[in-house]
């Protein structure tokens, strides 16, 4: 059921499956989820949820010293039939998909001024994606984005993050019954950007949520996808890939909260790292609550370390409060691309850079092929190629 292997390359892979009477995911948090930043103590770095994050690089997002005033544009392009609104904090549609789980998310929630709400009416099946282009021109910003799908609606949302920013945000995805939503979130920031964001999905009855998180850029990116179910029969697939370069900190902290019976979740994140000080963190918390009978869940994280000096921390954590489940498992492994592999490929005439690219592309392609949406897959592979062309 569980597999945790580790090739030590300055990495840790700790895996646990706890059969718990009470959730330790909850007890590990320094405060219960809350919309109010005042409910969270200022982290000092030793807390479970902050111990991997270099606080000094958060530019004050965590301790209240970061002041909004930056330039950040959010441009939404949506096909006909979709409503795009900019609303006040008081709008009832905000904050329904999940509650901030850490201080920075709460800070974002306490500080944003206007939110953007994108609504797809019930039964609308979009043939074109909704595009949300988030572009920073420097400075600090707090944001809130809502994407709502009515019952049986189907949509693909592509969120692109580019430029430079210190951004803390929450994104809500609310899926009506039987709705199908695919979200591709690409973090293609400049090397100076800081991006801390919580992605909340509330999956309706028989709805399916697919998330594809792609993190290439930024000085520090810390994303916390949270999935909860509003009814039985919901499905969530969370895919992620990251390419962590020298000096970058990229952290993905997932929490799938099986709070409802007969729901599924499947998590697969893969990362490649290269260069001094490249640091990737992956936390996969899956909680199967006592009520969530018939749950089927699997989570996987794989890392490929291309050079010395990079570090991976990978922590899958599965908590099961009911024995009446269909399946639950996790796997985490960190391997390295070493000199022997390089020699082998080069001895077949392949140049060193191409050998590296070949390995990384193949490693990611395996994941991309699981997404099941040809145009998204194609775009991603092209993106990976461009990233590899530029950096490997």
């Amino acid at each position: 059921m569980a597999e945790a292997q580790n090739i030590p390359v300055g990495s840790t892979t700790a895996g646990t499956i706890a059969v718990a009477a009470e959730s330790t995911v909850a007890t590990r948090m320094s405060a219960p989820p809350s919309f109010d930043v005042a409910d969270f103590p200022v982290p000092h770095g030793r807390e479970e949820e902050w111990r991997f994050t270099p606080l000094e690089r958060l530019r004050g997002l965590h301790d209240g010293t970061a002041e909004a005033g930056g330039v950040l544009t959010v441009e939404v392009t949506a096909p006909e039939g979709v409503t795009v609104e900019t609303v006040d904090r008081s709008d009832a549609r905000i904050g329904r998909a999940g509650t901030p789980v850490d201080r920075v998310a709460a800070q974002a929630y306490s500080s944003f001024e206007k939110a953007s709400v994108v609504s797809v009416p019930k039964e609308a099946v979009l043939t074109e994606p909704i595009r949300i282009a988030v572009h920073g021109e420097g400075g600090t910003a707090y944001g809130h984005q809502v994407v709502e799908l009515g019952a049986f609606a189907e949509a693909v949302v592509v969120i692109d993050h580019t430029g430079d920013a210190v951004l803390a945000a929450n994104v809500d995805f609310v899926l009506g019954d039987g709705a199908k939503l695919t979200v591709v979130s690409v973090q293609d920031w400049d090397d100076t950007a800081v991006h801390v964001s919580q992605h909340n999905a509330l999956v309706g009855r028989d709805a399916s949520f697919k998330s594809v998180v792609v993190t290439f850029g930024g000085d520090l990116v810390r994303l916390s996808p949270l999935v909860q179910y509003a009814g039985t029969g919901g499905e969530a697939e969370l895919f992620g890939l990251y390419f962590t370069d020298a000096g970058q900190h990229q952290e993905h902290r997932l929490l799938v909260d099986h709070n409802t019976p007969h729901c599924k979740s499947n998590v697969a994140y893969k990362g490649a790292l290269q260069g001094d000080g490249a640091h990737a963190v992956w936390i996969g918390d899956v909680l199967i609550q006592a009520a969530a009978e018939g749950t089927d869940t699997y989570e996987l994280n794989r890392n490929l370390v291309l050079t010395d000096g990079a570090r991976v921390d990978s922590v899958p954590n599965l908590e099961i409060e009911t024995g009446e489940i269909v399946g639950a498992g996790h796997a985490s492994a960190t391997g390295r691309f070493d000199d022997e592999q390089l020699f082998y490929l080069m001895s077949r005439g392949i140049r060193a850079e191409e050998a590296r690219r070949l390995v990384v592309r193949g490693f990611f392609a395996e994941l991309v092929q699981q997404i099941g949406l040809p145009d998204v897959e194609e775009r991603l592979l092209a993106k990976i190629d461009a990233e590899l062309e530029a950096s490997v």
Binding site: L304, G335, D339, E340, Q341, F343, Y344, L345, M346, S347, R348, G349, I350, R351, A352, E354, L358, V359, V360, R361, G362, F363, F364, E366
Partner: protein
């Protein structure tokens, strides 16, 4: 005609902060179309010779020369050597996670041939080569050497030999770990490549068994870091009957 010339090659490795000389003056000439068998006991330096010619970074050439048609091989990077026409079938082929066999083969064929092979003929070429080596087509989609059995790894090496068509092929114990059927299929592969007349083969082996299938023109005995005796196929028969003892006991001169 392509010629590989190895002259007075000395090679050492760094081990535990000390330098250890492994090759102590190897002389050998291999011409296109010829098959040379190098036979020697464990630890005599056969793989070191193979890796040094291929350019493995672990081995330091302290003196001597290796040339291919007069070009200095030792000056070339590992990939340049391969593109110049050298091929090493490794004793222990390396697993490469994330890279499928089909992608790997195509990428290396593109590198060696200088252009991407035409897709349609390529697919057929690979399929045919795999069939003759009795490799399941499913291998094309697996990651390079990952989870392959010893025999499967060796077949995969010979598959590459057939597709890349080098001028000089060094086969390092391609026979070890193979059962009789696999040995025959792999040998047939080597013989097919040889039959083209365009490859010079350096067959490194510990056992005479493979020489029932592959007929060498020359046999060399390798001991303590150099070639200590050279002859025709009859030398292999002598080794079969008497073993390496005569060559490994001190005081032997080449």
């Amino acid at each position: 005609m392509a010629t590989l010339e190895i002259r007075d090659l000395h090679v050492s490795v760094e081990a535990d902060n000390s330098t250890k000389e492994i090759l102590k003056g190897v002389d050998l000439t291999v011409k296109q179309g010829e098959t040379h068998a190098i036979m020697g006991p464990n630890g005599s330096g056969k793989s070191t010779l193979a890796y040094s010619i291929a350019g493995h970074p672990k081995y330091t050439i302290t003196s001597g020369t290796v040339t291919l048609d007069g070009e200095d091989v030792l000056e070339m990077s590992v990939d340049e050597r391969a593109r110049a026409g050298m091929f090493l079938a490794m004793q222990y082929p390396v697993e490469v996670p994330g890279v499928s066999v089909s992608n790997f083969l195509r990428t290396s064929a593109t590198a060696i041939r200088g252009e991407a092979p035409k897709l349609r003929t390529w697919v057929k070429e690979v399929k045919t080569a795999m069939e003759t080596l009795q490799m399941d087509p499913a291998f094309a989609e697996r990651n390079v050497n990952e989870g392959f059995s010893g025999g499967e790894k060796k077949r995969h090496e010979i598959l590459q030999l057939e597709l890349l068509k080098p001028k000089i092929a060094i086969l390092d114990e391609t026979d070890s770990g193979l059962d009789v059927d696999a040995l025959r299929q792999v040998s047939e592969g080597v013989n097919r490549v040889h039959a083209s007349g365009e490859v010079g083969t350096l067959l490194i082996t510990h056992y005479t068994r493979i020489l029932r299938y592959i007929k060498p023109d020359f046999v060399h005995v390798f001991a303590k870091g150099k070639i200590v005796a050279s002859g025709g196929p009859e030398l292999a028969d002598e080794l079969e009957a008497e073993g390496y003892e005569k060559y490994t006991k001190g005081g032997v001169t080449a």
